[in-house]
Amino acid sequence: MTTLDSPALARDQHTRTNPVWQVQAEIMKIRTTKLWWLLLIGVVVVTAWALLRNGASHHYEMYPPLDQFPADERAQAAAQAVQAKTHAGQAAIAADMMTSGQFFGVLLAMLLGVLTVTNEYAHQTATATFLINPHRGAVIAAKFAAAVAVGALFWAVSTAINLIVTPIYDSSQHISVSVVDWIPVRSTLLNLLAFIMWAILGVGLGSLFRSQVTAVVVAVAVYLGGAAAVLAAFNLIYLAYHHTWVLAAPVIAPAIASLVMITPGRAFDHAPPQWVGLLVMIGYAALLGTVGVVRTRRRDI
């Protein structure tokens, strides 16, 4: 027997493990099952739905059917329409249109992040994965990297649709602010950040729970339920302690932090600046990542 028996192995001259291999393998794992494109179809659907909804809503805002309004609201609606047609108003609308599909798209990116980890246990592939790469921290790190790629892909697809539809919509609504104006561009880039951060949080959450079902339920609850619960809780606290910081504090909930991060200006009354939202999101990613790596390292497979 000679090495000629395996031309492939004869070409393998590596002596040490390269961390990039694991990242490539993680992306390949995602690519070789149906889940990613099923979720990507979901991104397309929610983007299209959000474009319709946002388009209708902004049309109504700019061109309100004033004759159908009660007399006392008519003046306010007309003032809003004037405001919406200013440069700043048009820029905000363009930005909103360019980030259509964010709310659910981000959720889908997070779910893919969760499933990249929990699938390893649900399908019992963790054994093979950790046999090839016994450095479990490196495996989880590779999953984070793959999640960044998936988040970016989902964002790119959603943004591509928005980029086609928004100029057509803007032209039909006599909006003169271009989609390449800094304000819509800034929102689009912040949107990319949101997709990536939530995909990363998904991996972190996935590595905390061995059960796929638990991980998915907790992830959806954190994204959807967390914001409302934290807002309600801090409003109650504000009733007892009349300090302004209490009204800014809901930013500790990931969903609110994300909202703060992607909203130019203030996301809500007394909201902290954007960078605070970004810091909170990075903090969660780092915390979940660290806990996930520690738990995965100690776990018997």
Binding site: S6, M28, T32, L111, A122, T127, T129, V216, L224, I301
Partner: protein
Amino acid sequence: MIILAVLLLIGGGVYWLSRRQARRAGEPTILRGGTLPSPLADGASAPLAGMPAPSGGGPGRVVLSGLTKRFGELTAVDGLSFTVEPGRVTGFLGPNGAGKTTTLRMLLGLAQPTAGSATIDGSRYAELDRPIRRVGAVLEGAAAHRGRTGRDHLRVLCRAGGVPLERADEILEMVGLSAAGRRPFKGYSLGMRQRLGIAAALIGNPGVLVLDEPANGLDPEGIRWLRDLVRGLADQGRTVLVSSHLLAQVQALADDVVIIAHGKLVADGTVDSVLDSLARPTRTLVRTPEPDKLTAELGDTALVTPAADGDLYIVGVDAAAIGDAARRAGISLLQLTTERPDLEDVFLELTGQAAIR
């Protein structure tokens, strides 16, 4: 309200999908397309084609030293020490729940020992550089994603291990799964799954192989193929550790055996030395029309006890001596069979188990 409803719908859908997938992962194997195709029929070459002599990285000696694993009050593996030598097939035997799989998982870095160590060439598994090129393992429960093809499963492993992707096709051909490799894993029979597991273990042409019940689900032809493969791999100088409950096969295949019970070592050595250690000696079954005359001819050196149907069990002299005695006395022998205790006798005596899995 609409947003909330859609959210609940998405959350519920994903929950349902994930639950279905998780449930399916535990389903019994679905047999499709009848029996496992013959590896030769599927274009497979001889068992060792595609497996050059093992690559470097040390002789491949596996050493377990005081290896212990406790799960709360339960001690699954209790101070286990033994060595597995290169160039030999070592059978790893024990009753159900004896701690075999836990031991192998600790050796492979998948479970943390409570005490003691398990090393390959002096290094713990996690310390090995590119373990794909040093150690290959087939473990119980090792599987692939249900929706991924066997070929893609192997390509993912190649990618993670830094091995050229073409190796996946080479190894699929070797285990006789070239055609099936293009189909999703969920349609594989148990035998095909085992072959895929063996393929995964052999990707990096490792010098050490750890196989946990590799014959499970293989048909007789598959078992023979596996036996030839394992023998050939050991003859190339590899270290092969095989856990199995098929004692006759282990006896036919293994050079050494390690037997454990309740997490403790009960026997360790070459197959012959372990067989010889059994209290019951080799005996000869004799059928003759003149049993009394033969007994008298053998004298005091032989211990003769009656067997069924008027036959005799004779201990203390071997078959040749019995034949000589019969010839001297002019006694005809209708049957003369040497009965050596087999691995099953040893196993049952040492582990005190009436039945094993």
